[in-house]
């Protein structure tokens, strides 16, 4: 075991995958010589060579389109999109091609690829270095969407995603890239996709969060605990396919749900979670499910701490929901 932050844990996962499977290769902008703008791939080009850690030209369409071709040949490409905000030029390749290839060939071809991308705000990145576009991909049949919150899960989920036979979007919470440290095994262990984790057991309200906002949800839960409200915090980890059972069984017990995400509220994933909870646990609900989210504006710079659903906005929502 070694103490690692998220960047180190993801690097360790990539190193492990490159060592264990010769079909794995990495591609993206500045990931080789530089080691990525966040240094997530640092040292990998030196160890595995320029044929397995490819510095690509500056084109998300090119990165994702060629990665699909490689995956169709049986390689397992792991692409890095430098910021989730820059994924849109490659959106067509993900939505029209990667997501649909298995379906449109009745399983004859499939696209085992992972797209890693740092997402989210809180780094003073303004509107083009702060976005959380996960809902766009959850809305696309054929894609899996993963968003770890901590180093241990990040490594295990990434290794699992690389081995998965479907295309996986892997959103990395860059706000906590270096903020969170924990003991992480050197081995290539796996954390299965599709399993949420109860990170704080509680009786009164269920709070669903993922990625960087998990810590805010947790902090808010601790704060309201002082007022006697006992919150169950669930880290979704895999956003799609969703661990619906963990969510519904918790909400059936608490009768109350608060959902936290950075993305704008309207048509965000929170809306879908509210619908699923309402459909499945309606008779158990004691309060309307509530969303604490980014506002429906582009991501602002100066007031980013008021845009983000930080603990100061989550705690009142938890109290109101508990006392509804």
């Amino acid at each position: 075991m070694t103490e690692m932050n998220l960047v180190q844990a993801i690097n360790s996962a990539l190193r492990g995958a490159l060592r264990e499977d010769e079909n794995v290769l990495l591609l993206g902008e500045d990931i080789g010589t530089l080691g990525g703008v966040f240094r997530v791939t640092q040292g990998l080009r030196e160890e595995f060579g320029p044929d397995r850690v490819l510095d690509t030209p500056l084109s998300e369409t090119g990165i994702l389109g060629t990665a699909i071709g490689m995956a169709l040949h049986g390689l397992r490409p792991v692409s890095e999109i430098q910021f989730a905000d820059f994924i849109y030029p490659g959106f067509d390749q993900l939505v029209s091609e990667a997501a649909k290839y298995r379906y449109r060939t009745a399983g004859e071809f499939h696209v085992p690829m992972v797209v890693r991308t740092p997402y989210g705000g809180g780094i003073r990145g303004g509107q083009y270095h702060s976005q959380s576009p996960e809902a766009l991909f959850i809305h696309t049949p054929g894609l899996k969407v993963v968003c770890p919150s901590n180093p241990y899960d990040a490594k295990g989920l990434l290794l699992e995603a690389i081995e998965d036979d479907d295309p996986v979007l892997f959103f990395e919470p860059k706000r906590v890239y270096r903020a969170v440290k924990m003991e992480v095994p050197e081995t290539t262990y796996r954390v299965p996709l599709g399993e949420a984790k109860v990170v704080r057991a509680g009786e009164h309200v269920t709070c669903l969060a993922w990625g960087a906002m998990l810590y805010e949800a947790f902090a808010a839960a601790e704060e309201v605990a002082k007022e006697g409200v006992d919150v169950e915090v669930i880290d979704l980890r895999t956003l799609w396919p969703l661990d619906i059972d963990t969510i519904t069984s918790s909400v059936k017990r608490t009768g109350r749900a608060v959902i936290v995400h950075e993305a704008p509220r309207t048509c965000g994933f929170g809306g879908e979670l509210v619908a699923l909870i309402t459909e499945r646990a309606f008779l158990h609900l004691e309060a309307p499910p509530v969303r604490v989210t980014g506002w429906d504006t582009p991501f602002p710079l100066t007031h980013e701490r008021e845009y983000l659903p930080l603990a100061h906005r989550i705690a009142p929502a938890l109290l109101e929901t508990a006392r509804y």
């Binding site: 084109s59 090119g62 389109g65 071709g69 298995r102 009745a106 054929g142 599709g194």
Partner: protein, 360 residues
């Protein structure tokens, strides 16, 4: 570049060196493609299939290029290249079943007609967005190169696709990474209604390749032997580690863009007539007749064979049932997740839609 002269004789300096049997096989495949096309267009007009996108006039560009690729090479199609798939021995019955979206359709009725694929024929899947397949071909070729395999990739696209961002991304990646890929640009004069002169300000498609330092050739796409020669040369370069090649195949779409198109709105009959005289099938026929290996009787016998074959395939396809409704819910992921199991059960257990009214 042109190999077959107007009188059917061969420019010996440019002769790609095919045996006479091989040339006849090429001709027969082009005729078969046209007859299949023609039959499908008719049954679409009768409302028996939903859609068809044909290759009338472009058979030399398609079949000639496919013939020049080796068995181990991949074909990445646009959507007009079923002649290349048939050239590789894809069963005609399977294609016609696909056109009907019946239970034997390899894609189980999930796609519009003319969205073919076949792993065993090394033929990737047709999609519909323009140009998206071009970077796939580059990635496929990069994978073959990384694995040190003697394979190259031929990717088809039209003149319109050279306006897509995927085209430029793919060309740039090919220039940088030098994979064994052949860009096969069927310049057929039109992207649906837009003539190539208004698609791009460049005089040729081939000059776009220069910007990416990809070697380019420009050939008469209605001359099957010229197409064969140029593509074979590209294969040779790719196989010897020489990287990508761009080949502009100058041809003309004699039919509509698809059965949903009405080309009379945007081009004149005179223009089309002029190109009818440059028909690639007539050209190759003149050549093999010139070599005394083909005549009217052989021609009419072969057309009868093809016609009967496709008629029988159509008859069989029409008798087959629709695919199972439940199959709509599989192959979204390797394993079916809970929400699709649930939706499948809801669909199967729910009410059925009324039959579509006959709109014809």
């Amino acid at each position: 570049m042109q190999v077959i002269r107007d009188d059917g004789s061969l420019d010996s300096k440019l002769d790609p060196g095919l045996s006479v049997d091989e040339v006849v096989a090429l001709y027969k495949a082009m005729v078969r493609t046209r007859i299949v096309d023609d039959r499908l267009e008719r049954i679409q007009r009768q409302g028996r299939i939903a859609f068809h996108v044909g290759s009338l006039g472009e058979e030399a560009a398609i079949v000639g290029a496919a013939a020049a690729l080796r068995d181990q090479d991949w074909i990445v199609p646009c959507y007009r290249e079923v002649g290349a798939l048939l050239w590789r021995g894809y069963p005609l019955q399977r294609y016609v079943d696909h056109m009907y979206g019946n239970a034997d359709d390899p894609v189980l009725g999930r796609q519009m007609p003319d969205h073919t694929f076949s792993r065993s024929h090394r033929y990737l899947a047709v999609s519909a967005p323009i140009g998206t397949q071009i970077p796939h071909a580059v990635g496929l070729a990069m994978a073959a190169k990384k694995r040190d395999l003697d394979e190259c990739v031929g990717v088809f696209f039209g003149d319109g696709a050279t306006s897509s961002n995927d085209f430029h991304a793919a060309m740039n990646f090919a220039g940088v990474f030098q994979p064994p890929v052949l860009f096969l640009c069927r310049n057929n004069g039109y992207a649906i209604s837009l003539p190539v002169e208004r698609q791009t300000a460049t005089r040729t498609m081939a000059e776009k390749a220069a910007a990416y330092r990809v070697p380019a050739a420009r050939v008469d796409g209605n001359d099957a032997l010229a197409v064969f020669g140029a593509v074979r040369e590209g294969v040779r370069r790719a196989a010897n580690g020489g990287g990508p090649t761009f080949i502009e195949l100058l041809t003309y779409r004699l039919g509509g863009h698809s059965t949903s198109d009405d080309p009379k709105i945007y081009r004149s009959e005179e223009e089309v007539d002029a190109w009818r005289n440059a028909d690639p099938i007539l050209r190759l026929r003149k050549h093999i007749e010139n070599r005394k290996v083909w005549d009217d009787d052989l021609d009419s016998d072969w057309r009868t064979v093809c016609d009967l074959e496709v008629k029988e395939c159509v008859q069989r396809a029409e008798q087959k049932p629709a695919p199972e409704l439940g199959e709509t819910f599989t192959d979204v992921y390797a394993e079916q997740p809970w929400h699709l199991r649930e939706q499948q059960a809801q669909s199967l257990g729910g009410p059925r839609a009324a039959a579509e009214e006959d709109e014809s």
